[in-house]
Amino acid sequence: MFRFSLRRRFNGAVIALLALVAGSAQAEDDWSQVLEQARGETVYFYAWGGSDSVNRYLRWADGELRSRYGVTLQHVKVSDIAQAVHRLRTDKDAGRTQGGAIDLLWINGENFHALKRDQLLEPELLSAVPNHTQLLTDKLPLQSDFGVPVDGLEVPWGMGQFNMIARENTFSNEKVTPQQLLQYAREHPGRLSYPKPPDFIGTTFLKSLLQALAGNDERLYQPATDKAAAELLPELWAYLDKLHPLLWEKGETFPQSSAQQLQWLADGQLHVAFSFNPQEMAAKVKAGRLPASVSQHYFSQGAITNSHYLAVPRNASHKAAAKVAINFLISEPAQQRKADTEHWGDPAVIELPDAPALLPTAPELHASWQSLLEDEWLARYQ
């Protein structure tokens, strides 16, 4: 019995090895074909254009892709990636299944959710790029995007962690509770604000508050139901009703984006700004955009952590070049530079030597809470 099983195992291993060798040779062959096809093409990369460090990083990636693979990366800057989703939907309605304007997308959360539901994304993208084997899928939450399984439709690119950047002497502790925030607002009226939802950082602020106020209720991580919303949200609105009159401009106007909030923090108009990048503070101080005296904080239940992804639309015109771009963007040199606070400071999704530790994490809410929170917020406060 024992011998039999050993032999079977041996046979199995040999077959598996053979298959692996053959498979990888096959894959290599496929990839060299992709590279061949991609040469000379231009990838139209629709990505948020509101951060100059990201824009600069993408300019660098363009240069590298040109010299390494003869591929041009054209960053099409959008103020909200929902515009690209809208474009793909319009294409779909017009029956345009080929020759689309978008080759590559930077997305996550509800935008991914929508595109997945409408089957507008290129399937099996993840396995099509060789470097996907490097991804830290075991260590980092990369398999599900806001509670929605990725299913190989998108490739992880980086990580986000919701954190707060405060002027000195604002909070005594690294960890902050909603009550401490409210207390600070009472003592310093007009000095706090947050990016106006549906800005995603503004919405994440609401999510963090909700997490803390609802004591991490597990229903937040499942598709939102009317009942759960009716039970969990009132406390959040009660909190905001108290907070808003104490905010900048008495909560009648909000910063349009987290970038604007950061600028007003630098000006001293606000005392706290939010970021989704745990390295942003270090990067901005280095660049002379924030005074050196600022400090980083996070909500006491942990920093909401999620990943952001790259995806290719089904009707993309330059799929091969888009895959080459993705493969490069998750390669070590590209991830290394991305993680460097000199450049962008976005945490890597592959193993890097001396990568800074992440903040204590809190899970991301299920994607369905996003629009629920945004719609209710607008209905109450707009």
Partner: protein
């Protein structure tokens, strides 16, 4: 009277083509698509639309803005025109050419709670160690938006007032008024202004519709809870949520209705003014002393407009320049810790192609717009029959957003990708009416007998036109071209929606950077957005100056 010049076939074809491509087609495309969209409407879409949070407030913001800003600008321009300082026109052109967006960015740099003004107060008196919670203008508010628009519209209305003043014997009116025992100021407001208001009807309409439908400036400095109506419609247009598109179409329709209402009000403006004057005359009671005093004080105060505008514009340019060279600049420092070239150096490589793109679009579309305006004017002059003006100026009288949304939808319907050519066309649709509006008065007043004389000397019609009319109308033509050029540089919606991120100009990029909040970058881009039209102005001035010297 004999016709000065014959209407030739080419001229007719050219004028027809211009009107077809720049007025009829753009309006019809949008109208057709609107019709199709609206016929497919459901009650639920309407319900959702009506339930939009902040709907009424947003509408009222837009209404207040589009009534108050043009009226304020109009009366300041009228009051100021009484003085007619020497070389006013020379001063006007740089103000005219400053794009709204760059001006807005600069004004916020100057007057926000962390702006230079507050920093200077801290430096002088040590007040406001931390930035005040309110200053002259908040970083974002309706109030800020209102002032930026008022200040920026005054120069245009002044130019149009100057043009209108050459059409009426204003000095004689003033003398008559004064011989009847009225003061100069009273004669101005009672005799000249009613005539001016009639002639300002169309320019005012253009300003009103612009104020109602502008999106880029409110995106940067307007309120956002809610935003002004055009902003709301723009957001729907960009949104992919189910129903957002229908809301955008309905919102566009409401924008059209608002425009119609405001244009109707604009038509009543001169009547209301005359009625007010009649009522004052009949009521027979003299103004109370304090009212007269206030009136006189206000009248005098407008004298300050020119120095104020010069000061603000210089401040705007200085603030943009300093930010673009700044490294590490925090409140309450009056100047940055250090100046360096890093922003310029690192951005120049990416800025330069943008500048070329913007420049090429502006050069071609301004020239096309001016040529089309000239063709249409010449054709009408030769036929001695003028069309109703509002017809040709439809591009200015319809809110931009629904118009451009229609074009964008049309392009995606025919699977057309964003392309330079489409953007150029869309720019020309707007440069044409501006050029026409600016040129119209002087062109019609031109004494066409000169052309007849020239022809009787044996010159061809075309040659007479070039040698006689062009030199005489050089200055208005230059104004028309420069204004068309700055309009093209500053166009946001058509570039953004038809270019879809592929065709990018300095303006779309500046709005993008504005959302990123880096003042140094914003300073650099806004500075260049301002410099481009100024350069065009200088070139045009030099060109016309040299020609004049040659003559």
């Amino acid at each position: 009277m004999a016709r000065a010049l014959p209407v030739n076939r080419w001229l007719t074809a050219g004028a027809g083509l211009c009107i077809g491509l720049l007025v009829a087609v753009p309006v019809l495309i949008s109208a057709a698509l609107y019709g199709a969209d609206l016929s497919a409407f459901s009650a639920s879409a309407l319900q959702r639309f009506v339930a939009t949070p902040g709907l009424l407030q947003s509408l009222s913001y837009s209404l207040v803005l589009a009534v108050v800003a043009p009226l304020l600008a109009c009366y300041v321009a009228l009051a100021f025109s009484l003085y007619r300082p020497n070389r006013l026109l020379g001063w006007l052109s740089p103000f005219l050419s400053i794009p709204h967006l760059a001006f807005a960015v600069g004004v916020v740099f100057l007057f926000s709670p962390t702006g230079w003004w507050v920093r200077a107060l801290y430096g002088l008196f040590g007040v406001f160690e931390s930035p005040p919670s309110s200053a002259l203008l908040a970083d974002r508010s309706l109030w800020t938006l209102l002032w930026v628009l008022v200040l920026k519209e005054i120069p245009f209305l002044l130019l149009m007032t100057q043009s209108a003043l050459t059409q009426i014997p204003a000095q004689r009116y003033l003398q008559v008024g004064q011989t009847l025992g009225h003061s100069r100021i009273a004669s101005w407001w009672q005799l000249v202004v009613p005539e001016l208001l009639i002639r300002l009807r169309l320019p005012m309409a253009a300003v009103i519709v612009y104020t109602l439908s502008v999106v880029d400036v409110p995106l940067l400095i307007g309120p956002n809870l809610p935003g002004v109506w055009a902003q709301q419609v723009f957001q729907w247009q960009q949104d992919f949520q189910p129903g957002a598109q229908q809301s955008a179409v309905l919102g566009g329709l409401v924008l059209l209705l608002l425009a119609a209402l405001l244009l109707w009000l604009n038509r009543q403006h001169e009547r209301a003014y005359s009625a007010l004057l009649r009522w004052r005359r009949q009521s027979d009671r003299p103004l109370t002393r304090w009212m007269a005093r206030i009136g006189a004080a206000l009248q005098t105060a407008t004298r300050l407009w020119l120095p104020l505008m010069i000061l603000v514009s210089a401040g705007v340019i200085a603030a943009l320049l300093v930010w673009s060279f700044a490294s590490g600049w925090f409140y309450p420092a009056l100047l940055p810790e250090a100046f360096n070239l890093s922003t310029w150096r690192s951005e120049w490589e990416f800025l330069a192609p943008l500048l070329w793109q913007t420049l090429s679009l502006a050069l071609v579309s301004a020239t096309l717009g001016l040529a089309a305006a000239l063709l249409c004017l010449e054709w009408q002059a030769r036929r001695e029959h003028y069309w109703p003006q509002w017809w040709l100026l439809l591009g200015l009288l319809l809110p931009q957003l629904p118009l451009v949304m229609g074009w964008q939808f049309g392009l995606s319907l025919f699977h057309r990708d964003p392309h330079w050519g489409w953007v150029l066309w869309s720019h020309s649709v707007f440069t044409f009416p501006y050029a026409y509006l600016v040129l119209n008065g002087d062109y019609r007043r031109f004494n066409r007998r000169w052309l007849l004389v020239s022809q009787s000397l044996g010159h061809s019609a075309l040659k007479s036109w070039c040698r006689v009319l062009v030199p005489i109308l050089r200055q208005p033509m230059m104004y028309a071209w420069v204004i068309a050029f700055s309009v093209s540089v500053a166009l946001y919606l058509p570039t953004q929606l038809l270019g879809a991120g592929r065709v990018v100009t300095i303006t779309t990029e500046a709005v993008n950077i504005g959302s990123g909040g880096d003042r140094r970058l914003l300073g650099l881009y806004a500075l260049w957005q301002m410099l481009l039209p100024l350069t065009a102005l200088i070139i045009a001035a030099l060109a016309s100056g040299r020609r004049r010297a040659n003559l």
